[in-house]
Amino acid sequence: MREFLLTVFSLSTLQGAVRAGTPLLLGTLGEVYAERSGVLNLGVEGMMIMGSVTAFGVAYTTGNIWLAILLAALAGGLLALIHAFTSITLRVNQVVSGLAITMLGLGVSGILGKRYIGQPPGVRLGAINIPVLSDLPIIGPLFFRYDPMVYISILLVVVLWFVLYRTRWGLSLRSVGESPATADALGVNVVRVRYLAVFFGGMMAGVGGAYLSVVYAPAWIEGMTAGAGWIVIALTIFAMWDPVRALLGAYLFGGVRVLQYRLQDLGVSPPLLNMLPFIFTILVLWMSAGEAMRKHIGAPAALMQPYVREERG
């Protein structure tokens, strides 16, 4: 037991949890905003992988990592706009549209990425060394030895939390997700808010994907997100649509991921460990399935409901 705890709470496990959790965190932050506006986007996996291939391609060709991440955001955002158009403007079933986006993204990224297979990335984003702080015992490795994207994602958590709860924009966003008719009556442009939220969600998913291909892996391999997009969707619910809880959830999932391989030599059954993230995901989805439960944990009331001005609900 002691060994078990030592492994679980070892420095390198915690470090690994943060890095493995960062792409999930980025994607979840985006999905939190999209769902807060009332649009469920099941296309996260597709948008993430488009981000991965775009980032890798740009980094490989230009050698500029920041341009790569920026364009990955754009790629994710553009793909999300398709979802926005179908689900907000055309008001089709959001589940179907989202799934289509996932399939589209997986397919298109496969075609675009053909030429990058087996290529090492031109550049990569390594851990930054902060003088003094990085060298502190324990605190150094635990807090100050990550790549810049880890810090940017944490900063985003703070900013997005603030915007969501303390600004007029955030209020509009939340009201659109809770009661679009009321928001509309108060002069909020429901369609515009939803489009922006979905677009932003796509951008964040794109950045999450970019993290995988130019920071975490770093390489392009077809289908490299390997289900991360689906974990993001579960995490969004787990986080109860809150950016700060998203941070905790993402690192927790990251931790479960890295522990799989650390607990194997302690005799824990590998198949069982392998199932952990998914058992976790199922538990979360199951907990949130009931209507009463959904109200209780604070799901946006108008989630998945298309808005039409004439039909008051």
């Binding site: 070892s10 390198s12 496990t13 690994g16 493995a20 553009l78 793909l79 706009l81 398709i82 158009f85 403007t89 298109v108 496969g110 075609i111 675009l112 990425g113 053909k114 030429r115 297979i117 087996g118 290529q119 090492p120 390594g126 995988l212 975490y216 892996a217 770093p218 390489a219 391999i221 077809e222 289908g223 490299m224 390997a226 991360a228 991921r257 890295v258 799989q260 391989y261 650390r262 194997q264 030599d265 005799g267 059954s269 590998p270 198949p271 392998n274």
Partner: protein, 406 residues
Amino acid sequence: MRKKFWIVLTVAVVGVLLLTACPRPTPAPTEPAEATPAEAAAPGMKACFIYVGPIGDYGWSHAHEQGRLYVEKQFDWLETAYAESVPEADVDRFLDRFVVEEGCDVVFTTSFGFMDGTVAAAEKYPDTLFFHCSGYKRAPNLGTYMADFYQVYYLNGLMAGALTKTGKVGYVAAHPIPEVVRHINAFTLGVREVNPEATVDVRWLFAWYDPAAAREAAEALIDAGADVLAFTEDSPAVIEVGQEYTEKGQQIYTFSHYSPMGDFGPDTAVSGQLVDWGIIYEDILMKAYTGVYNNTNLQDVDYWWLLREKAVLLGARFGEPINPKFEDELKAVTVTDPLLGEMSVYDLVFKRIEQMEDPAMLFDPFTGPIYDQDGTLRLQAGQRATYDELLTIDWFVEGNVGTIPR
């Protein structure tokens, strides 16, 4: 008006995406070789390939695809077609399509899980030749083939044993199946031949292809003290982890697998396993074309190609068996072999290649005495593991840490 704007915008976005997606001038299967003049000159042959993964996996399916491209270039009478990412349950439909609609003369199915589907198809289409990779069921018009790595893993094990300073070697493994167990065992036999105290710590991914998982497993192994890493899975993630640690000042030695991954870790990748399916496909197709193989005599055609046939090679890059960067380190470690006498590990590796490439295969890693993890003698002194034993191996040799999950 607004609505119109959004429609235009979306159409534009979709258009741009499609444009970037479509007109890549990638070399499609339609090569000049199969243009009409050639067809008129001699009767052609069509070979079709069914892959389980995307040809972009940079592992298994990618390597088979390289083989297809090779034979297509090699023979001007050959036309090829392929299907990638075919789910194992769907192989029947693809086999029907390839035989009935595409008129394939020879069909290659390249995953163990395609076995029963291929057997059924061979019965259904007695005039077509089938070859199934990595399986064991054959028929008059169905042969099997496999290029196996165990000898190369053993060679890499020798180097791993020489290079480890902590005495702990890590191994990232995909699935607990005989093929992988055989590779791990061969690698460990190599490690222990040079370094009898060293252990090989195995972590299972339960995925052939999950770069993030492979990275996490590799980091876990380094945390547990490993300074040399080998793997059987389809991504270069382990090499990348090795490169990162090495750049940060902690030298990690890695061995690449399946594809030439040396470029992912110039300072860490010592050597590795490489495959060349092309020469197997070349042999099979040439024999099928000239009638040596026909739909009545494949019952006993079972390719099990190793170093001797040059279907597998040592190296992290083609043409470079050992990264020159590590040559001196390997030359500095010496071992004493009862038959060969004292020599450096570097020389031992090349000596072993020579022995295993010999038509008589003068050496095989799976030669007793070999004990399993529990200390039970599995192979008597001087006894070589049989082909069947190698194909079904389900126990770890002495020196492996970890278990084979059932």
